[in-house]
């Protein structure tokens, strides 16, 4: 027995020893001859599309691209440590909430000289997306996609409520009585006795389907959660964007909008934050605990391809100052420590070109930044039987667009703001007071 064990152990040791010594010799020989770039992204849904781009890029240039994917949180936590240790990818997918700090710490390569040299046409991109990536005259990315917000609704819930889906295109909203959007949310809410939110005898303690779902989080922006309400009243996050220095969180319009939102929660029309659970928006909608929710275009396929429920999209309601959505986009940035800046630029240029963006468009995952490619994406969705015009039509008119607020210290601001949003959702604070305090705290962070 003992001897057998010993022999096994010895075997195991030799095997592992062999394993470790043999492995590295495999492919290091080739890598030295050819340039292999590393490119990182966080959205697994986009990985196949960009893998196709990478294949096309390798075919035409001979430069290999290795794509790595990590979830949102790991992605950003890992990025900084990899920058410090010098193991960062050559090209990263970047977000406007994060790039200012990376740029301020000289971790990103200024691509303006390359853009000038290769005469990249910046007007081919949707709206002002290209200018979001310029800080102090330096450019840190070429737009690769954009996203907007629209309403996602459960088709069965809408028809059960006797609402004509066509009427959803002209919803209105205001912070006084909620407009037709407020009425719709009340109607879509059903308690366990089958009473609707706008009927007498509605029991808000026993709600079966909430008219309005709740996604937790959102930080200071509330991109999918609440941004469209204050924005449609003329609210602006910052004194100037990008790189404002004053968050206007004490704006009475923001307080009004969030107070109305809180009132809807108190009345039982919005899923309470407790009940929203830790598991997220998707299970909530898939199990039909909520009938409608505003959401971003990056999750179109989650809803369109659902087999449990049938979902469709409607434009955001018209507010007192019109219809407003946050528009935001991602861009590839080159890390300053790359050993192959020229090749990395070739890849970034390719990602920002119609050659790649047309490929992405056909996958119908995100809306590519180039206008013509976005039209292709719309067609690709249509051919799958999905109408995504609620996301695209709003983007056609610049007056509808509010760009994602860009400042330094975004992480710290979000942590502080999220605590206040949580408290509003738990009815522990009056929005106007809490937002005023938050405004002071954020001002001291940005100082």
């Amino acid at each position: 027995m003992n001897r057998k064990l010993g022999a096994l152990l010895a075997l195991a040791v030799t095997l592992t020893a062999c394993g470790t010594t043999n492995e590295p010799t495999g492919d290091s020989g080739q890598a030295a001859e050819k340039v292999t770039l590393t490119y990182s992204l966080w959205d697994p849904n986009q990985l196949p599309a960009y893998q196709e781009c990478a294949n096309a890029f390798t075919a035409s240039t001979g430069i290999q691209v290795k794509i790595t994917q990590q979830g949102w949180e790991d992605y950003w936590n890992g990025l900084t440590t990899s920058l410090v240790s010098g193991t960062a990818p050559d090209v990263i997918t970047n977000h406007v909430a994060y790039y200012p700090e990376l740029a301020a710490n000289n971790q990103l390569l200024d691509i303006q000289p390359y853009v000038d040299k290769d005469k990249v046409d910046l007007s081919q991109y949707t709206g002002d997306l290209a200018s979001l990536w310029v800080k102090d005259g330096k450019r840190y990315g070429l737009p690769q996609d954009w996203d907007t917000i629209a309403l996602v609704y459960n088709v069965k819930d809408i028809t059960d409520a006797g609402v004509d889906p066509a009427g959803l295109d002209d919803l209105t909203w205001n912070p006084a009585d909620g407009g037709t959007f407020g009425a719709l949310v009340r109607k879509l809410t059903v308690d366990e006795n089958g009473k609707r939110g706008d009927e007498p005898g509605f029991d808000k303690t026993k709600v079966k389907i909430y008219g309005w779902g709740l996604e937790q989080g959102g930080g200071v922006v509330g991109q999918t959660q609440w941004s469209w309400m204050p924005l449609s009243m003329g609210f602006q996050y910052l004194d100037k964007n990008p790189f404002g220095t004053d968050y206007k969180l004490d704006d009475p319009r923001l307080a009004q909008a969030l107070t109305w939102w809180q009132d809807q929660m108190k009345a039982g029309y919005v899923m309470p934050r407790e009940e929203a659970g830790k598991l997220g928006l998707e299970p909530m909608m898939q199990t039909n605990k909520a009938a409608l929710v505003p959401d971003g275009s990056w999750r179109i396929n989650t809803w369109a391809q659902s087999t449990q429920q049938k979902f469709a999209f409607a434009p955001l309601p018209q507010g007192p100052e019109g219809r407003k959505t946050i528009i935001n986009g991602l861009a590839p940035s080159i890390t300053a420590g790359t050993k192959h800046p020229d090749q990395a630029w070739e890849w970034v240029k390719f990602l920002g070109s119609s050659a790649c963006q047309d490929l992405v468009a056909k996958k119908a995952v995100v809306f590519p930044a180039i206008k013509t490619a976005a039209a292709t994406a719309l067609e690709a969705h249509k051919s799958k039987g999905v109408d995504v015009s609620a996301f695209t039509e709003i983007a056609a008119n610049p007056a509808n667009l509010a760009y994602y607020p860009i400042t330094g210290s975004a992480n710290e601001i979000n942590t502080n703001a999220q605590a206040v949003i949580d408290e509003i959702q738990e009815f522990k604070v009056v929005p106007a007071d809490a937002l005023k305090q938050l405004d002071e705290r954020v001002a001291s962070i940005l100082k």
């Binding site: 900084t80 440590t81 410090v84 009940e275 659970g277 598991l279 299970p283 210290s409 605590a419 522990k428």
Partner: protein, 310 residues
């Protein structure tokens, strides 16, 4: 653990005289044997600790060079509501966690001692302790979910309202504390059980003859004589309890509404989400000082207690 366990007192004469040093020829060999442990201590403890103190005096975001700012971080810390809030929450956690864990573990240990010495029972009782913290957190996150959780399903069977547990700012800290109590109490019980085995049986027999019931036996015999073991276990488990991090990181991430932003999680956030390394290091130093004070206080209690059995 072994460093705080005071050895039983030996008669004076048996102790080697201090002056009786090693013969000089042995010293190099002794150092050679000490080297691996010493190197580990210096590389992984001493250097990072000293460096931590230094970082706490700087403004450093990892990416650019640290800038010396003196005691600014400490000044900022003392005025930071979130720092005090984190300490308060951590204290709340420690009280609930250690309180419930100690009582339950003691009960289990006494029951095991008086009812069954079965090795199987002893083994079963430490099973939760063998499950990694993160796994416990993930499993309970699902079990305690407001909508799909098993526990709420059971509550529903008894006609009780569903609870949000991790998702409610009032329940989150007690929930995390009790989940960790569940995980650790078996292990703590085993330590207590071992302690009880050291109490001479004759004392119980004598007390029983004098007419003492189970409760009196526990209060008058077990509890006083278990004190050295208990203090040791408390020292170790309170230090461990202060370092609550993983359950928070997996389940609540400091929320809802800052309700679970315990000090370790706040340090982590400042350091690795917001990249204020200096500020995070200053808080770590503060925590270090708090733990030293706590440990010294408890060590004093330990020394006072170690003569009980003799």
């Amino acid at each position: 653990m072994t460093t705080v366990a005071a050895p039983p007192r030996r008669p004076r004469a048996a102790q080697p005289s201090r002056r009786n040093r090693l013969r000089s020829g042995d010293a190099p060999v002794a150092w050679l044997f000490l080297l691996p442990a010493l190197a580990g201590f210096v590389i992984f403890y001493l250097v990072p600790t000293v460096r931590g103190f230094w970082i706490s005096l700087t403004d450093w975001n990892l990416l650019s060079d640290p800038e010396f700012v003196g005691l600014d971080n400490y000044r900022e810390m003392l005025q930071d509501d979130k720092f005090w809030n984190a300490l308060r929450i951590t204290a709340e956690y420690v009280v609930i966690n250690i309180g419930s864990q100690t009582v339950l573990a003691l009960a289990i240990a006494v029951l095991m001692d008086r009812l069954t010495r079965s090795v199987l029972v002893r083994a079963l009782i430490v099973v939760p302790w063998l499950v990694p913290n993160v796994t416990v957190a993930v499993v309970t996150l699902f079990m305690l979910d407001r909508n799909v959780g098993f526990v709420n399903h059971v509550l529903d069977l008894f006609g009780l309202d569903p609870q949000a547990f991790y998702g409610n700012s009032d329940q989150a800290i007690p929930t995390i504390a009790l989940v960790n109590t569940w995980r650790n109490m078996g292990y703590t019980a085993l330590l207590f059980f071992a302690g009880i085995q050291m109490i001479p049986r004759s004392l119980y027999e004598a007390a029983a003859i004098d007419g003492a019931g189970e409760w009196t036996l526990f209060r008058r015999v077990t509890l006083p004589l278990l004190r050295p073991v208990m203090v040791l276990v408390l020292v170790v488990s309170i230090i461990g309890s202060f370092q609550i991090f993983d359950t928070v990181a997996v389940t609540t991430k400091g929320g809802p509404a800052d309700a679970t932003r315990v000090i370790y999680y706040y340090i982590y956030q400042k350091a690795f989400n917001e990249f204020h390394m200096g500020y995070a290091a200053a808080m770590a130093v503060a925590l270090f000082l708090i733990l030293i004070v706590l440990t010294l206080a408890q060590m004093r209690m330990l020394r006072a207690a170690d003569s009980d059995l003799r």
